[in-house]
């Protein structure tokens, strides 16, 4: 089972005090939350929309929506997972607007068997990233993750990059825990397979 961060009854997540102050009208407390989470929200939005301007708008819209709805925040989930849920919904809505008439959901394009069985079994160089400049590496990582089906990409980002638990990822995306687990495995294997093209050890004579 995935590890769930248990917060004891008497322990409070530090965000709770900030949320309470913000509810009482302390805008500075809300600004602290913006500072703490804006990069992650931007990253999630950009992974879903694949569009920089949209992702920037979503950062703004998600935080404003959270601020408006602070009274509805129950406190039985973490503020961050609640905020991510808002940002995921805003991102999907924006995608729908872009592709007018086409429904967009996190279930898009997941009917693929690709990557469920490892094929590229060559080992990688000890530090494969050292063979590329920072800019080249960033481009490789971006291109590779962009090629994943949406429903796998977002699970990988929330679970592995953002560090949410399996249960939190399921709650945020409205998926079952088994669905998150199955997508995560396939996302990891597909990314591995695709990165292998760049990172595998070269055989003698290969460039």
């Amino acid at each position: 089972m995935a590890t769930i961060q248990q917060i004891g009854e008497n322990e409070q997540h530090p965000d709770v005090a900030l949320v309470n102050s913000a509810r009482a009208g302390d805008v500075q407390a809300f600004e602290t939350l913006v500072n703490k989470y804006d990069r992650q929200i931007f990253r999630i939005a950009q992974h879903i929309t694949q569009n920089r301007e949209d992702a920037q708008d979503i950062v703004q819209d998600a935080f404003l929506k959270a601020y408006e709805k602070l009274d509805q925040f129950q406190g039985n989930s973490k503020f961050y997972t609640w905020l991510v849920r808002i940002a995921v919904n805003e991102s999907l809505m924006r995608l729908r607007k872009r592709r007018t008439g086409k429904m967009v959901s996190i279930d898009d394009d997941i009917e693929t068997e690709e990557g469920s069985v490892p094929r590229d079994l060559a080992d990688w160089s000890p530090n494969p990233e050292q063979n590329y400049s920072q800019a080249e590496l960033a481009e490789i990582l971006r291109k590779t993750i962009q090629g994943l089906p949406q429903g796998f990409r977002i699970v990988f980002v929330l679970r592995d990059v953002d560090g949410l638990s399996t249960e939190e990822t399921a709650e945020t995306l409205g998926l079952s825990v088994p669905a998150v687990k199955s997508r995560l495995l396939r996302a990891r294997l597909q990314l591995r397979e695709r990165l292998s093209r760049y990172f595998r050890k070269k055989k003698a004579g290969e460039k």
């Binding site: 600004e31 913006v34 804006d38 992974h47 703004q60 494969p128 990891r188």
Partner: protein, 78 residues
């Protein structure tokens, strides 16, 4: 244990969430299967590399603009 059975438990192994007995079975399979060894190490590396490199950075100037816009709206009751 077959390679397919190993792959089905790969995530739990990476996330260190397996009972000791199952873990030992996987270790035993690994010691005799180079393919699964490579799959495990390169999948771990995949996760690590995405964790340690920011794929989409938010530049400070844009960050500041977004913050100012958010806070201004909050102050005026959204």
């Amino acid at each position: 244990m077959t390679c397919t059975e190993f792959i089905a438990l790969l995530d739990e192994l990476i996330d260190d969430s397996l009972p000791a007995e199952t873990r030992a079975q996987l270790q035993e399979h690994l010691s005799g299967c180079e393919h699964c060894e490579v799959t495990l190490s390169t999948t771990r590396k995949t996760i690590e590399i995405y964790r340690s490199h920011e794929v989409y950075d938010l530049p400070d100037t844009i960050r500041k603009r977004l913050h100012d816009a958010i806070i201004a709206r909050c102050k005026h009751g959204c």
